[in-house]
Amino acid sequence: MADPIIRCEGVTRTFGNRTALDNVTLTVEPGRCFGFLGPNGAGKTTLIRCLLGLARPTSGSITVRGFDISREPTAALARVGAIVEEPRFYGYLSGRQNLELWAAYVGDDAISRVPTLLSRVGLDARAGDKVSAYSLGMRQRLGVARALLSDPEVLVLDEPTNGLDPDGVAEFRVLIRSLVEQDGRAVFISSHLLDEIEKICDDLAIVNQGRVITSGTLADLIAAGGRELRVECDDPARAEALLRGLPTVSAVTVSANGTLSVQLAPDSTETRAGVNRKLIEAGLAVSRLEPREDSLEERYLSLVHEAGQA
């Protein structure tokens, strides 16, 4: 596996008595979209500001592209693009003039990329308009174009779909996935929007009160939750009694239409086929048996609730 493009180790950031980040450790792999998910005030923006060298961690270390952000910020940020909190521009300049201005800061190569980037984010037709006349969605897209000026290996986006309408969110999602899948860039997105993270990200970390409470691939995270089977058969009452007796089953409920919801114990190795075999061996005719995994929302709420109780 390639070296992580972002590595945070034991990052803590305090403001007086308040701990905004508490021993945060995570890695972001190249060519992956990483979601940093947490409720408002969980420390997402603080971590992003630390990642980008805009704020200094109280303790811990952050490397971006293999460079320590505190010691070698210029090298670390040379191919990093970002939107922090919200995209800010000079409203009295046009979209094109804004990009040309930032391109001057990035370097000569960046100026030649301006027309292509405006086209890529779908703003070429409005590039001559003043940014003060842009909608939030257009400013977000212009923000992505600005973030791409340095041809970044990694994009860091803080709540990028805040305030966008559903069409804007969908367009933005397509744009971000194209940056990952077509360009092979890594994208780090912070958000409190579960649906957005679930649709865009490959990996994620969930943060609450400054602490990372879990991290990994989206699929693994969801799979680690409680497993449930939906079962339909010719004799729900007998099936319920049978399944309740199995040590690998933690709970069974029967709905009004006779469908059984079978909750497998979290540490159980029981498989769908195993449950099916036991039902058939008992002489029951199984007409439907399908798994139902937790949604990200259920996993998120469960994990945040558990962390809160702890």
Partner: protein, 247 residues
């Protein structure tokens, strides 16, 4: 750095309202003065024989005051805008350092602040040369040079002071208020010190500006040092804040 300076210059000039006001208000004052004097001259040339010449050119002091005010506003905006508008963090993310950013903008600001004051000065000079001024001495080259130096120094130095204040205060409105207050009232208050300590007078900004452009019997070396020290102090305060501020 030249590409950045050029881009920043274009950005400042794109603030058309501010730039046009800075150019047109002094120009309008010159035109109104010329129109009034010509009107009086046309009605009664005996009572009002002089319109142009040195008398007309002496109005450069009014142009100077107006241009210093606009230079101060431009300097304060230039210093405070990026933090106030949230664009600073995006500049820093390009890898352009705070120090380079701070230093690159000093010549850009000086160019803009002085450039917007020049059209009124040129118009005033043209008026002094072409408007009737029978019996009145014409404007000399040394007088033009002296007053141009005075205008450039006043506008440039007060703009740089305002820039330092803008960077330090980080709020555009607050920076404009403080810089204008300091320029219009605060520095004059320093003159009160001279009542108690007369030896301080050559070190005051107004005295140094007058000494360099208009001459006098105090030390020219002290005046030049004072003209360097005054903006440097405010720029240093701004730089310290710029290097420490989280974007």
């Amino acid at each position: 750095m030249i590409a950045v300076a050029r881009a920043d210059l274009r950005r400042m000039l794109a603030r058309r309202g501010l730039v046009l006001a800075s150019v047109l208000v002094p120009v309008a004052i010159v035109l109104v003065l010329a129109a009034v004097l010509m009107f009086l001259h046309t009605r009664n040339a005996v009572e009002h024989p002089i319109v142009g010449g040195s008398s007309f050119f002496s109005f450069v002091s009014i142009i100077g005051i107006i241009s210093v005010v606009f230079g101060t506003v431009i300097g304060a905006i230039f210093g405070a805008e990026d933090v106030a508008s949230g664009t600073l963090r995006y500049i820093l993310l390009t890898g352009f350092s705070r120090l380079r950013l701070f230093l690159t903008r000093i010549p850009v600001l000086a160019i803009v602040a002085i450039a917007v004051a020049l059209p009124a000065f040129v118009l005033l000079l043209i008026g002094a040369l072409i408007l009737p001024h029978a019996g009145e001495p014409s404007v000399t080259a040394s007088e033009v040079g002296r007053l141009l130096l005075s205008l450039v120094l006043n506008v440039g130095i007060y703009a740089l002071i305002a820039y330092g204040i803008g960077v330090a205060i980080r709020s555009t409105g607050g920076a404009i208020a403080v810089a204008l207050g300091l320029n219009l009232i605060g520095i004059s208050l320093f003159n009160l010190i001279t009542l108690a300590v007369p030896g301080v007078k050559p070190w005051l900004l107004d005295s140094a500006l007058t000494r360099v452009s208009d001459g006098g019997d105090t030390s020219i070396a002290i005046a030049i040092v004072a003209l360097i020290v005054w903006p440097s102090v405010f720029l240093a305060i701004g730089l310290v804040r710029a290097l420490r501020t989280e974007a």
